[in-house]
Symmetry: C2
Subunit: 351 residues, 2 copies
DNA sequence: TTGAAAGCGGTACCAT
DNA sequence: ATGGTACCGCTTTCAA
């Protein structure tokens, strides 16, 4: 199997307790003894047994707070959180998932302050990157580790971020759009919210990649859709009515189902390319029926379960995440794979 | 944390040994006692602790044989195998990865026969679906569980298959090609090998999806490329020379780097769409420089590590895979994400 | 400074 | 048919 602490102890002529102390630097160990133990470890290639470690670690349970808005947008991410919760139940990890956590700066900041009164061992959150939240998180991060998921916070000392590189995702979308419109043409970039960094980064990446491929007339001063399908319907309808030469539309997020509906109602679906992001049910529907051409997802499930894993390893095993940002994949979906489920390594179920 | 066997035993007024026997049906247990234990388990919602189970199970190590050709095509799959090996080292799983396992029926059958002389607890293999291999595997499968990965065997009682749904992947490629050639045109399907079921399925899916989108003239009687880049270069050059109206090429596998080179040399790269499969280095290169438009990968890493997980769970925990086929994802890559690495849940490294 | 021993949850063997 | 106990590898406490 592998070398155990017991074997190291025997080879070094000491007890298991001493080896443990030497490894972790807790308690006093005679320098010579330590030297010898380390030599034996090196020679035998000792690797700690993570299973045994986990069994032991479960004796000191940790409580993690999960602050993720419970909107449909985060449904898949929350499924990832639940899967990780199930998996880590026997590892002494307890999750407290906030109900009614809202996508609103003041509410989030208040929530964080309330949290600091109870005991928590770590915070996992999808936060709004606004001053009030940044400040509250900075304060919390002084005491406990914070991992951001899906959306990051700028200038805050969080342990790690798990989410998409939106600029790169935007580029991938722009590359596809360019290949679908080889002859150039008018392409509109429809903003969700100009306050959302993610949306702006997607737009920037899209433009950059598209313009590398040819002459396109980009329409950038389109009205924001917000999160509203109704609003998006109007915005896109207006666009379709006013631009008879429109060849492509890139949504940056928010109201994509409404945009699809407007395109379908105009009778120009299939003729005008429609690019989306993520896999909200309405978006998926438009991909399936051909109104939208492709969508770029970001593995929200992983954005939910990976932070739990990272937090467990940090708290229970003392292992830092390797990187400060972990990007989830740029997941291009068309009609034929938009509904595909993937095998999940945690639960063994579909995701 | 959770209910333990010890607690169940106390509540039922018996010993832990009895509870264990009642759960697993080994040894004799008084029906009344069993009834009572089961009731307590139901009421408390007992869930066995997988960590403790694993620690114990490591006492009875298992040896798995991995028969995967060591060609570049399987490099990523083998990296997955290695990652799983590392992860499961402490679970009492030992892997024996065959060196010089070849993509050749007679050789594979011989290998399997040799294997049956040594002791093995399970076989993981990427096999050729030809009679000699089928027969040898059928024979081996009588004694030990067999999991196929990447390529399946027809009519063999293997435990499970982990790989891509090639027809669906072909469809996705056809859908993309159609969107990139909205005005129709001549599209060639270049076969790798007509003996490879995967290649034929890709071709069939591609045709189906493409034809749903418009009028295309499909060129289907193209010569096979085999696995040879040189051959593929010739085949594609011939195609380019003879078909001045060619608008798209779909490779089904094998020699894709050669095909890209031929297209690049012809000076018509960018003008003619080129669709590929998988992410061999040569293919990736052509995607990056724009000669090829997209490639469809199949998560080879998962095809390597998942079989090890399934085999461990089957042998050590007595858990059957949920499905007979587990499809890995249809992973569309363009220039901007073709080199992306993903976080791997097993090793915590990139893959 | 070091050793001995108990315990995490589950399994397996030996006694009874 | 059932109970008691030892063990997996690691950590932690208590005693020396």
């Amino acid at each position: 199997m592998g070398v155990t602490i017991k074997q190291i102890a025997e080879l070094a002529g000491v007890s298991r307790g001493t080896v443990d102390r030497a490894i972790h630097g807790r308690g006093d160990v005679n320098p010579e003894t330590k030297e010898k133990i380390e030599r034996v470890m090196r020679e035998t290639g000792y690797r700690p047994n993570a299973v045994a470690k986990a069994l032991k670690a479960a004796q000191n349970p940790v409580t993690l707070d999960v602050l993720v808005p419970s909107s449909p947008f985060y449904a898949d991410l929350l499924r990832g959180v639940r899967a990780a919760e199930e998996f880590y139940a026997h590892y002494g990890v307890r999750l407290r998932v906030a109900e009614r956590f809202e996508l609103n700066g003041a509410s989030q900041a208040a929530m964080l302050r309330k949290l600091s009164e109870e005991h928590t061992d770590g915070i996992i959150m999808a936060a709004l990157d606004v001053p009030a939240v940044r400040e509250a998180v900075s304060c919390a991060a002084e005491k406990v580790p914070v991992i951001t998921c899906n959306s990051d916070l700028t200038g805050v000392k969080r342990l790690c971020f798990v989410g998409q590189d939106h600029f790169a995702a935007g580029r991938a979308s722009g590359t596809l759009m360019g290949k679908m419109l080889p002859q150039g043409g008018e392409v509109a970039v429809v903003p969700g919210s100009r306050d959302m960094l993610a949306h702006m980064q997607r737009a920037a990446g899209f433009r950059q990649a598209l313009q590398e491929q040819g002459e396109y007339e980009l329409l950038l001063d389109v009205r924001e859709t917000g999160e509203s399908d109704k609003r998006a319907y109007e915005v896109v309808k207006e666009l379709l009515d006013s631009r008879k030469n429109l060849a492509g539309i890139c949504m940056t997020g928010g109201g994509q189902a409404g945009a699809g509906a407007a395109l379908a109602d105009s009778g120009r679906a299939g003729e005008i390319r429609l690019a989306c992001y993520d896999t909200l049910p309405g978006t998926v529907e438009h991909i399936k029926n051909g109104t939208a051409d492709y969508t770029i997802a970001q593995d929200p499930f992983l954005q939910g379960c990976l932070p739990v894993k990272l937090m467990y390893e940090y708290l229970a095993l003392g292992k830092e995440p390797g990187r400060e940002r972990i990007f989830t994949r740029i997941d291009i979906r068309v009609k034929d794979n938009v509904e595909d489920q993937e095998y999940d390594m945690f639960t063994g179920e579909d995701r």
